[in-house]
């Protein structure tokens, strides 16, 4: 059976070729993966990232943007590898949400 991400040759409609500046958070996600996959540390290999992106599920795969897929996959891999716990990540997300809420 064809995996959901395996889109080659499928009808897809027109391709949006417009360019845009990357958001600062997108650049940070890119930098984070480069650091996590650098030979000195090699916590995440790019093949693992790809596997984790493919494993997001069809609904999330279609809904998330490119770097949203990356950061979701990176978070899942770091939990899987024991670098972060679910609780640590959840508390940090709450902390950032509260901080940004105050600023708004």
């Amino acid at each position: 059976m064809r995996a959901h991400h395996d889109l080659g040759g499928r009808p897809a409609g027109p391709i949006d070729r417009s360019e845009r500046e990357l958001e600062p958070w997108e650049k940070r996600v890119d930098a984070m993966l480069r650091l996590l996959s650098a030979p000195e540390c090699e916590i995440i290999r790019v093949d693992e990232l790809r596997r984790a992106v493919e494993g997001l599920g069809a609904e999330a795969y279609d809904r998330l943007t490119y770097y949203e897929r990356w950061i979701t996959a990176i978070a899942n891999l770091l939990i899987e590898k024991g670098v972060l716990t679910i609780d640590e990540l959840a508390r940090k997300i709450e902390e950032v949400r509260d901080r940004d809420g105050e600023r708004a």
Partner: protein, 94 residues
């Protein structure tokens, strides 16, 4: 590394339905192609994807397919081709 195939060899892509992370797109599975070049040995991404070392390295090939062989409704020139890099364990002779 002993590459089993050489440039010019006709090969068949296994029609495998393996689960997990693989680099062989669905649209070439079961198709016949010709080895365009031997790319060399590379760690197996199907193993690297799960945190293992991917060794021993596997020969990787660039395989040329005729578009008309891949798409039943292809209307372009008959010699149009597409090249896909495929690991040796996905290839067989028939």
């Amino acid at each position: 590394m002993n590459a089993r195939f050489a440039a010019g060899d006709r090969v068949h892509v296994r029609r495998s339905e393996s689960p997990g992370h693989v680099r062989t797109p669905e649209y070439v599975r079961g198709a016949f192609g010709v080895v365009e070049r031997v790319c060399g040995p590379f760690a197996n991404p199907e193993e690297l994807a799960y945190g293992r070392d991917g060794l021993p390295a596997r020969p990787l090939y660039r395989i040329r397919f005729r578009q008309a062989d891949l798409w039943p409704d292809y209307n372009g020139p008959p010699l149009d081709s597409v090249e896909v890099e495929i690991y040796e364990h996905w290839l067989e002779t028939r």
